[in-house]
């Protein structure tokens, strides 16, 4: 079993009246609420937390891409990955990921991932999310009507740019390049592992991952039932291809809180969940479905749920701590409790990679580190053995440490 540490890098200082004055935490939230000086302090604090996760034994650090988003201050995951590449030496750096359809030309994404792979000594995972409508269509103006086609084209171009030894011409619909010949090339050959994060049920994503042998990442943030349905769908596609499922081809993300006791976990951490929920509950629905973002198949898969929700509208309410635990959208409590919850989660889903969300909303630095350390010291050892009879083909394959040059920290006396 592999354990990874995710940071969303949220803004923790929204005023109490935020939702009275803003319809959404995305796209058009009042940017005057952002304080750049405090933002700088936060970036360093958040990066410190991620570096700490390497020190205490996590296998990977996860960065992601959001735009114009109060809860995701990482428009460029590459920049954070670059910072982490210099300050870490062992962990995988998992880009989960770059919204490749937004890069024009997409060779820019191929180049930057290759740069990071080289800089980190081959520790990069390339995550290729489709991206949300908020990020891609509304904030970045990408046309939803042909967005999936662009995504596929950019995917194909990036893969070829990494692998084709020759200069080639790319005559696509989105991109035309007479000379593709990127420098540098990735250390990991033929290319870094590719992970595809999916939010919700999308049979198209299952097929995409199954056909290409990519890692499928599902989120437990909507509860274990939804995550189970998503992962079951993916494994069914793998089995349909006559392949024995390997748990390491699946990853699940979960919000995790570890304290000395179950009560302490709730008492100390619950207020920080309320901060996130209060601001994201009932977010502006107009951002959720840019026309064309779903295919016809996707619309039909989603439509029944939309119609059910419309037929039975219920006022949104922030779930209680116990409701979160019951739904499985949170793993929290003593090390023993969390071990039990996560063992159930990863075994049910047959997931070999667990992505832990240890920081949320306005959670303090100390609480974040405390939970992280307890998890590393008391939960990881109890779960590490899971799936030990399978080989992990979806983690990076870094070069040997002696080949990799560490940053020099003391250059005094150099002329």
């Amino acid at each position: 079993m592999k354990f990874h540490w995710f940071h969303g890098m949220p803004w923790p200082h929204l005023p109490a009246e935020f939702r009275d004055r803003n319809r959404s935490v995305w796209v058009d939230a009042d940017a005057s609420l952002y304080d750049p000086v405090e933002g700088g302090r936060l970036y360093h604090e958040y990066l410190d937390q991620m570096e700490y996760a390497e020190q205490v034994g996590f296998d990977g650090l996860i960065v992601n891409e959001h735009h114009q988003n109060v809860f995701g201050l990482m428009p460029s995951p590459q920049l954070m990955a670059a910072a982490l590449a210099r300050r870490t030496s062992r962990v995988a750096i998992i880009m989960l990921g770059m919204s490749i359809a937004l890069y024009r030309p997409a060779t820019r994404a191929a180049e930057e991932i290759a740069m990071l792979d080289v800089l980190s000594g081959g520790r990069i995972v390339a995550g290729f999310p489709l991206g949300t409508p908020m990020d891609t269509n509304f904030a970045y103006g990408a046309n939803p009507a042909d967005f999936r086609r662009v995504y596929r084209e950019h995917h194909d171009l990036i893969l070829r740019a990494w692998q084709d030894p020759d200069v080639f011409a790319w005559h696509g619909e989105s991109t035309r390049l007479r000379y593709v010949n990127i420098w540098p090339r990735p250390i990991q050959q033929p290319h870094p592992p590719i992970w595809i994060p999916a939010d919700g049920i999308s049979s198209e994503t299952w097929d995409f991952c199954a056909e290409r042998g990519y890692n499928y990442v599902c989120l437990a943030s909507r509860g274990i039932a939804a995550a189970q349905a998503a992962m079951d769908g993916f494994w069914s596609r793998i089995e349909a291809r006559g392949v024995e499922p390997n748990p390491y081809q699946g990853a699940v993300s979960q919000t995790i809180v570890v304290a000395r006791t179950d009560d302490e976990a709730q008492q100390r951490y619950e207020p920080h969940f309320e901060y996130s929920s209060r601001h994201t509950q009932d977010d502006f629905p107009g951002w959720s479905e840019a026309p064309g973002w779903r295919t016809e198949r996707g619309i039909r898969e989603r439509a029944a749920q939309t119609m059910r929700e419309l037929a039975n509208p219920h006022p949104a309410r922030i779930p209680t701590w116990q409701e979160r635990l019951h739904a499985g959208s949170l793993a929290a409590g003593s090390p023993e409790t969390v071990t039990e919850q996560l063992e159930h989660l990863v075994k049910s889903l047959r997931a070999g990679h667990l992505i832990g969300v240890f920081h949320l909303g306005d959670m303090t630095h100390d609480l974040t580190l405390r939970s992280t350390r307890l998890f590393a010291e008391q939960v990881i050892p109890r779960l590490r053995h899971l799936w030990e009879d399978h080989e992990d083909h979806w983690s990076p394959r870094p070069i040997a440490t002696q080949q990799s040059r560490a940053p020099r920290r003391d250059l005094a006396g150099v002329n």
Partner: protein
């Protein structure tokens, strides 16, 4: 009685799904539908068919032509599709009526093939952008009722667009029609037609609806000023989808302007 036909077009080779109604000897009228496509042979088309030979195609990407969207890249492709349709039907020129996104397409046809257009009526046309009058974003809407903003009253979506149809099919078509519209209007409905409007030398009427949330009535003045000799009027009581909300008034407007040159 009107019928929905499937035609192979020459010389372009596209397939057209087209409603036709009215007397074959009446003056030809090309109806260019709005964002919401053509949910049925409705009141507006029926009323127009009293005076015209009505030709009402689904533009590539809408309704039964949903799978044709990847084959069209821009406004020129849409112009050629409609010109090929007239050609295939043996119609040398027609009165052109465009509602909403159809207004943009009509203006493109008139600018590029003035010989094919006898008169031009643009109702709540999209395709020009004014920062001062942006209107509501038709693509940032609740997914449960995604076109409600296009009507003067959200309930009219149920009544005029969704009624008498299979709910799932109607909903899927509604979203796919929006997808087709987004292909040309995302993220800002500036199609570039503004550079070509000066070329229009056809009699032109711009109509804006009183309760259009998407195309502000000031946009009617901007269109009128950009098209030489154009006139403008307001349609009382209607939202953006005027062919569904004000079918009789729309048909009267078109009949009076196209056949008699009257704009009152």
């Amino acid at each position: 009685m009107a019928e929905l036909q499937t035609l192979d077009l020459t010389p372009g080779g596209q397939t057209a799904h087209v409603w036709q109604g009215g007397d074959a000897d009446s003056p030809a009228l090309l109806f260019l539908h709005p964002i919401t496509g053509i949910p049925r042979w409705g009141e507006a088309l029926e009323a127009l068919a009293n005076d015209f030979r009505v030709i009402a195609p689904y533009q590539p990407g809408w309704g039964p032509a949903k799978d044709d969207l990847p084959g069209v890249r821009d406004g020129l492709d849409l112009v050629l599709f409609n010109v090929d349709l007239l050609n295939t039907l043996g119609v040398g020129s027609a009165h052109v009526v465009g509602v909403s996104i159809g207004g943009w397409i009509g203006a493109e046809i008139a600018a590029i093939r003035p010989d094919a257009v006898q008169s031009l009526t643009l109702v709540n046309p999209l395709g020009l952008w004014s920062e001062s009058h942006p209107g509501e974003d038709p693509f940032a809407q609740h997914p449960g009722f995604p076109t409600a903003v296009l009507f003067s009253d959200p309930e009219k979506r149920n009544e005029l667009l969704m009624a008498d149809r299979d709910p799932m099919d109607a909903y899927v078509e509604e979203l796919l029609d929006l997808r087709a519209s987004a292909k040309f209007l995302w993220p800002i409905p500036d199609t570039g037609v503004g550079r070509r409007l000066v070329r229009i030398d056809t009699r032109t009427l711009i109509a804006t609806s009183e309760h259009d949330n998407v195309v502000a009535h000031e946009m009617g003045d901007i269109w009128r000023a950009a098209i030489p000799g154009a006139q403008s009027v307001q349609l009382a009581g209607s939202g953006h989808i005027a062919d569904l909300e004000a079918p009789a008034a729309l048909a009267d407007l078109v009949r009076n302007f196209a056949l008699a040159g009257v704009t009152a």
